[in-house]
């Protein structure tokens, strides 16, 4: 049988890094085809290729059996391919209407004919019960609404092939179920959908078939009907052995970090990103904050570390209230932070490795004498860490950090933070987009901390990491903690349900 879309043997590289490595994807007409994979598996990249944003190094794309060349979004449009991007592509001070017509304006001698557009948009909005206000400014509407705008952008130009890149990651359950309805309605109308998600039950709910990527490689395609979530997740993550970490029983000691009723404002004014959150991390345990991307985890950490102002609440470290303290003081008190975005927060990319290794300690008497840096001291120190944490890079301590591979950059941060031998390590998605080797290494380091009787607060989006590393799991949903559970006593499915907000566990807050 022929496919509407065939992507054969696609390879896409960024620099030397293969984001897609010989990937094949076949989309049947009128199906919802799920695309499954971990962070950094290459899903968005593959779709960007299909949508003409990137040009693949190898591979061909066929439409209805005929090879097609897609050099830019226009071509994609011509072919009736539309895409809802993972990171929305909307102009903040445009109106909904302006955003939708951008690029497909109906004009008379160059002058916009908005009323026609308006009519069409309102019709669509009615048909799918979107209830959008065409004159509202993008900056003023909710994320859910913004996504509807993105969807309308596709429908507005009558696309037949619709790509949804992680549409649910940012939605609340009601919105999700509504989205599911819409997607069903769309395929019912004969359109075909590629649906990217990390969430198996969503796939179970709507998808007909599912293709799995791992580390940029194509793993396989299955009929959703005749495969279990477990099997799918196994396909997605690969043999468990890579990620199972053998660690001895936790010996929970007394509290190290106590977070009390923490509330943090979100970027979008009005709603709080973190709502009255409380929890405690003890000596010798790894507490994992699980949850779907964008449920307030980042803000929670920013709030604790002081990178974001907090609305109310308390942060207590070893009995000392550090809420109001400067970031540096917190660091001196023994709080280490492995940030979510290593390029943005973690490193000064244009500094040498050695400078980055002392980024938190350059001012200590060890590295400076009345204002002057002790370069030899720093060099020695750096050499030591590079040795100890086996950081690999061109010119050792003198290499410019920008030029180092992601894994080694992350190792550098880990080295810097752990070597201070802090009371607590806050690690946010410490293995994002890293190769297996690096992942295992970093996990070992975290466990070592824990075994040394220190506390670890781990934020992760990936079930396996959560399940394997943590001694205790709190699940965040919509900025609140909806569960506080023991990994031994919970299945992935349950956890998934918590994360999706479908289930709320009684908070067994101690003390």
């Amino acid at each position: 049988m022929s496919y509407v879309i065939e992507m054969n043997h696609i390879t896409k590289q960024f620099g030397s890094f293969k984001a897609n490595d010989d990937v094949t994807l076949q989309l049947e007409k009128g199906e919802i085809h799920a695309l499954l994979g971990e962070n950094g598996a290459g899903k968005s990249t593959l779709m960007s290729v299909l949508f003409g944003l990137y040009q693949p190094e190898q591979g061909e794309i066929k439409m209805n059996g005929k090879p097609v060349k897609i050099n830019n979004p226009n071509d994609a449009n011509e072919l009736g391919i539309g895409m809802v991007h993972q990171h929305f592509k909307l102009v903040h001070n445009f109106t909904v209407l302006e955003s939708i017509v951008l690029g497909r304006e109906t004009t008379k001698i160059g002058i916009l004919k908005m009323d026609e557009a308006r009519k069409k948009v309102m019709e669509l909005s009615k048909r799918y019960k979107f209830k959008i206000d065409p004159d509202a400014y993008i900056s003023d509407i909710t994320v859910g609404m913004q996504q509807r705008v993105e969807i309308l952008k596709m429908l507005y130009c009558d696309n037949e092939i619709l790509i949804f890149d992680e549409p649910t990651a940012v939605l609340i359950p009601q919105e999700i179920s509504e989205l599911m309805k819409v997607m069903k309605q769309l395929v019912a109308e004969g359109k075909s959908i590629i649906f990217i998600t990390h969430k198996l039950n969503e796939i179970k709910e709507v998808a007909n078939r599912c293709s799995v990527l791992r580390k940029g490689k194509y793993i396989g395609t299955v009929n959703v009907a005749d495969i279990s979530k477990e099997e799918m997740s196994e396909m997605m993550v690969g043999r468990k052995v890579n990620l199972v970490v053998n660690k001895k029983e936790a010996t929970q000691g007394e509290p190290v970090l106590e977070v009390k009723n923490l509330t943090v404002k979100g970027k979008t004014a009005g709603k709080d990103a973190v709502k009255d959150v409380s929890f405690t991390v003890h000596k010798g345990e790894i507490l994992c904050v699980a949850g779907i991307d964008g449920n307030g985890q980042s803000e929670l950490i920013y709030g604790i570390t002081g990178l974001m102002p907090i609305e109310k609440g308390q942060v207590i470290l070893n009995g000392k209230d550090i809420t109001k303290e400067s970031i540096r003081q917190k660091c001196l008190d023994g709080l280490a932070h492995i940030p979510e975005d290593r390029h943005k927060d973690g490193l000064v990319l244009d500094y040498t490795l050695q400078n980055n290794l002392v980024l938190q300690t350059y001012y200590s008497d060890r590295f400076q004498k009345n204002g002057f840096l002790k370069f030899d001291e720093i060099r020695e120190f750096a050499k030591g860490l590079i040795e100890k944490f086996d950081i690999r890079c061109g010119q050792g301590e003198d290499s410019v950090t920008r030029g180092m591979s992601g894994g080694n950059q992350q190792k550098a941060i880990i080295a810097r933070e752990l070597d201070r031998n802090p009371e607590i390590v806050i690690a946010v998605q410490p293995v994002r987009g890293l190769d297996v080797g690096a992942i295992e290494y970093i996990h070992k380091q975290l466990i070592a901390q824990r075994d040394a009787g220190k506390a670890v607060l781990l934020v992760s989006l990936e079930l396996d990491e959560v399940m394997n590393l943590s001694d205790r799991i709190v699940v965040m949903y919509e900025g609140e903690i909806v569960a506080d559970v023991n990994p031994q006593e919970i299945t992935r499915e349950e956890l998934g349900l918590y994360m999706a907000g479908a289930k709320r566990g009684v908070k067994n807050e101690e003390n």
Partner: protein, 317 residues
């Protein structure tokens, strides 16, 4: 009353060039390219335009010559601005630096060429463009005295440019795309808008208007061009920001600055001001101070185009 008319007429001489150039700047910045080269481009435009006049003023004269000269200035400005566009769009260079280079280049070039060619630095021209009274319109009681006496067609050209520019950026396909490129080039790109093209056009428009602004500034207020536009390019940038990148507000800003300029030089003939013990320097400083104060208040949530000054790079996500 007479005084009032006078102030308004004078204000036009100062405000119109500011308006034109600032609107030009708006196009560049709304497309995402900062253009601090406006000063230099003005000088370039004025230089060539005035030279054009001084060459052809014997063979032809009157409004036709002026309009031709204005066109020439525009073209020159546009071409000159290509340098900036190339640097900041193709080469992804630091936009303030290439702008600074153009600002340094223009006056030196004007002086060099003028002195090498005609031996002297100033380029004189005879003003045959002055309109003491627009036929019919000039007779309208108040309005006539304000806007249709002691004027140049420049005034009306300026207003026309403003109206068109404001309409285009708000109501046309081009305007919509331009604004998108200035705020979120990624979004524009994802719907198949050619960001580079749009930005080029934005810079060129700014160049053309700045060029025009240059000659428009010189003609009504002097009898020769001396390789300078007295910092009006920078003042125009102030106007642009003061106007928060919105043409309607830019209009107001331009006239505010224009009035301040007028007062700073003509106060000696305005009784109530002449009485005040305020020296001309104070008037000169005022627009800039006002801009600073305003910036302090609005910058936190300024309406500056989000992506201005940032070279667009596809693979950045």
């Amino acid at each position: 009353m007479n005084i009032l008319y006078f102030i308004i007429q004078q204000t036009m001489y100062f405000a119109i060039p500011l308006l034109i150039v600032a609107i030009g700047g708006m196009y560049a910045e709304r497309s995402g390219v900062i253009n601090i080269a406006l000063e230099g481009i003005m000088v370039m435009g004025a230089f060539v335009g005035i030279s054009f006049i001084s060459i052809f003023q014997d063979s032809m004269n009157g409004q036709l010559l002026l309009i031709l000269a204005i066109l020439v200035s525009g073209v020159v400005g546009g071409i000159f601005s290509l340098l900036h566009a190339f640097a900041s769009i193709n080469m992804k260079a630091d936009q303030t630096i290439s702008g600074t280079a153009l600002n340094m280049f223009a006056p030196a070039f004007a002086i060099y060429v003028a002195r090498m060619v005609q031996g002297t630095q100033q380029i004189a021209f005879t003003d045959t463009f002055y309109i003491s009274k627009v036929p019919v319109l000039g007779d309208i009681p108040v309005i006539g005295d304000m806007f249709f006496k002691n004027c140049y067609i420049i005034t009306y050209i300026g207003i026309a440019i403003y109206l068109v520019a404001a309409y285009v950026i708000k109501n046309t396909k081009y305007g919509l795309r331009l604004r998108a490129c200035g705020e979120h080039p990624g979004a524009a790109d994802s719907v198949g808008v050619n960001v580079a093209k749009i930005r080029y056009s934005g810079v060129i428009v700014s160049g053309v208007l700045a060029g025009i602004g240059g000659i428009v500034f010189v003609v009504p207020t002097s009898t020769n061009f001396n390789a300078t536009v007295a910092g009006y390019g920078f003042l125009a940038i102030a106007v642009l920001i003061f106007g928060q990148w919105r043409s309607n507000k830019i209009l107001m800003a331009a006239f505010f600055f224009g009035i301040m300029k007028t007062l700073s030089s003509a106060y000696s003939a305005i009784p109530f001001l002449n009485a005040l013990p305020v020296s001309s320097e104070i008037y000169k400083m005022f627009p800039y101070i006002a801009t600073l104060v305003l910036l302090a208040f609005v910058s936190k949530n300024s309406q500056a185009p989000k992506a201005e000054g940032i070279p667009y790079d596809k693979s950045m996500r």
